[in-house]
């Protein structure tokens, strides 16, 4: 069992909105996680490759530019193929184009295999709480007492 869970962060596709994922990454680090920060404009394949290399426990993906759905077609399936079915998939940001309902986004991304979907401007501390719970319930970290 690893000492610290390993989390991969980044924006997916050619999304340039890096500010949010930088803040997310720092918050995870502050909370005691090992963070592999891929930054902006990270192709889905790179997430998978790095997850394999680092034995990652979760991916916290960001997307703001409205094209995440196109970018992530079949992503969960590729994760499974790559032996990453146990890796938690979270996504946050702005997931649709133009005025739309978050509920629709959430439904769509859950159907695409994401474990959790966050609305715009979510509180990252709450997401970190979710993450802790999800990791514990996967029993990968039997007694996850993080620094925070």
């Amino acid at each position: 069992m690893k000492a610290k869970p390993t989390i991969i962060t980044g924006t997916v596709g050619v999304d340039a909105h890096v500010i949010g994922t930088k803040i997310v990454s720092r918050a995870l680090r502050d909370a005691g996680y090992a963070v592999v920060e891929l930054g902006a404009q990270t192709p889905p394949e790179e997430f998978i490759k790095v997850a394999q290399e680092t034995d990652a426990d979760a991916m916290l993906m960001s997307s703001l530019y409205g094209m995440a759905e196109m970018d992530l077609q079949g992503f969960k399936e590729k994760c499974i193929e790559a032996g990453l079915e146990e890796v938690l998939l979270y996504i946050g940001g702005i997931l649709g184009v133009s005025r739309h309902n978050f509920q629709d986004d959430e439904k769509r991304f859950k159907e695409m295999g994401f474990d959790r979907v966050y609305p715009p401007e979510s509180d990252i501390q709450l997401a970190i709480q979710d993450l802790r719970g999800d990791l514990m319930s996967k029993r990968k970290f039997a007694n996850l007492v993080m620094e925070s």
Binding site: V14, D15, A16, V18, I19, K22, I23, V24, R26, A27, D30, A31, G39, A40, Q41, Y65, G66, M67, M70, I94, G96, V97, S98, R99, H100, P120, E121, S122, D123, I124, Q125, I128, Q129, R132, M146, S148
Partner: protein, 497 residues
């Protein structure tokens, strides 16, 4: 080893480079440079960006220069017409993200899907896929001057197609790519790309066709003074000028502090002129300046607050008597704005621009003058250091300066940026540095920043650190300039858990 130099590209080399650029996508073949020059020559003044700016300047007006673009050509025509009908003479042309990253096959798919679905699946107009003939229809559809937006990878090809289609301005802002659009490109690659577009505009200029370049500088992703942004704009202007660009438009990023914004509005064109002249480009004109709601603060989500922010920014722009003004829409925090949101937003901004400019209200005070002189001292110190690093060559200097953190800005997308600087607002809402990184800011000015920051530390009884910087980054979206520790998203501050 740095290979790039501040030197005009030789014409033959340039023409050879063009072949490669135009071969990237079939529509490249629609670009015939001589025919394009001819087409440009016959455009009416109302489609020439610099002429429109000059006219507006003479009339003492501030006009809107929005952003927008949509994939389907009929929709785009409707959009530019509706903007033009609102009295907007400077028409933006946002390309989609796939185009900007030269993923033209994805753009093609997105375009086809959009047409099929009857709604946009792309976040802009895929100008390369549409090509010259189609895009000319858009340009001809209304009586305004066009400026397309791109990013590094597609810059050359977008420029080729856009100018051949009759567009008469385009940003050539390689620090913009470093700040916000290109993750991996080196500064050298960015300059290379910018030199191509400069040379292309220079070629048009040599045939008597003036195309304007707007310089955005290092995209300021956070709460910081605009000095690095202004310095890098001037570097972009110098790089473009060397390639033959004859018209540059400075952009002043309006951050919400009236004193600082008005100080920057005064100082920016003056410093442009100073360095253009100093480095031998006295023949480059500055037809006007644009005030922009650009510092990349998260936008208010509520409609009322969003209108508040938009109209406020336009008011400051008009008080600063800039020639053009870019404001966002009330949908900014939500998603790509609807046509209605565009119209309502610009109507609000236009209302106030017209009402304020009519008054020829002169605004001045000690605070404005102070901000002006601080920005001037900072920009000058930075630019002089860059020139020193480049031993007189601004291109070489720019590369070394980024490496050394002499040019630096937070939260940039590009991996070559040092990312060692950070800022917060002072008690009156002006942006100050809390981390200077390696910026070559004179010591007495650093002290000024520290004093201002200390004032706020005293009043709020908390250290001005990374977390406050992020609080301040969110502040405008929550209805003020100074951030509070308890904004809903907590800013990643360590919680109790």
């Amino acid at each position: 080893m740095i290979k790039v130099r501040q030197k005009q590209i030789d014409e033959d080399d340039f023409l050879a480079m063009r072949k490669d650029v135009l071969s990237l996508w079939p529509t490249g073949q629609e670009v015939d440079l001589d025919e394009a020059v001819e087409y440009q020559r016959n455009l009416p003044d109302s489609k020439k960006f610099y002429k429109v700016l000059q006219k507006v300047h003479e009339e003492g007006r501030t006009v809107l220069f929005p952003r927008s673009g949509t994939p389907i050509v009929e929709d785009e025509i409707e959009l530019v017409r509706s903007l033009n009908d609102l009295g907007i003479p400077l028409i933006p042309f946002t390309t989609d993200s796939y185009t900007r990253n030269l993923q033209l096959d994805k753009a093609q798919r997105g375009l086809e899907d959009s047409i099929k679905a009857g709604r946009s699946m792309l976040n802009g107009y895929p100008i390369v896929n549409h090509g010259v003939l189609t895009t000319r229809k858009v340009v001809e559809a209304c009586d305004g001057a066009f400026s397309p937006r791109s990013s590094r990878l597609a810059n050359s090809l977008v420029g080729e197609v856009a100018f051949a289609s009759g567009m008469t301005a385009m940003p050539n802002s390689f620090f913009g790519w470093i700040g916000g659009y290109d993750k991996k490109a080196t500064v050298e690659e960015c300059i290379d790309t910018a030199q191509y577009l400069g040379r292309l505009i220079g070629y048009y200029a040599s045939k008597g066709v003036i195309i304007t370049t707007d310089c955005h500088g290092w995209l300021p992703n956070g709460v910081i003074p605009m000095s690095v942004n202004i310095a890098t704009q001037i570097i972009e202007a110098l790089i473009s000028a060397e390639q033959g660009v004859k018209s540059v438009m400075p952009q002043v990023n309006l951050q919400g502090s009236i004193a600082q914004d008005l100080g920057d509005i005064r100082v920016t064109p003056r410093l442009y002129r100073k360095y253009l002249d100093k480095l031998g480009h006295s023949d480059v004109m500055i037809p006007g300046i644009v005030g922009s709601q650009v510092p990349l603060y998260a936008f208010p989500r509520g409609m009322g607050s969003a209108f508040g922010y938009i109209v406020y920014t336009a008011t400051v722009a008009a008080l600063g008597q800039v020639d053009a003004c870019f404001v966002k829409t009330i949908d900014e925090a939500i998603g790509i704005p609807t046509k209605e949101s565009h119209i309502e937003s610009y109507q609000a901004a236009k209302w106030v621009l017209d009402v304020v400019r009519t008054q020829e209200f002169e605004i001045d005070n000690e605070d404005i003058r102070q901000e002006e002189s601080i920005t001037e001292a900072e920009v000058t110190a930075i630019l002089d250091k860059v020139l020193e690093l480049g031993e007189g060559d601004i291109a070489v200097g720019a590369i070394r300066a980024v490496e050394a953190g002499v040019l630096d800005s937070p939260f940039s997308i590009n991996i070559h940026a040092k990312d060692q600087v950070l800022g917060v607002r002072d008690l009156k809402g002006a942006c100050r540095y809390i981390e200077f990184g390696n910026l070559p800011i004179p010591e007495e000015i650093k002290q000024f920043h520290r004093d201002k920051v200390a004032e706020r530390e005293n009043v709020e009884g908390r250290k001005m650190d990374y977390y406050v910087s992020i609080d301040d980054f969110w502040a405008i979206s929550k209805g003020n300039l100074l951030g509070m520790p308890n904004f809903n998203n907590n800013n990643g501050r360590r919680g109790k858990d």
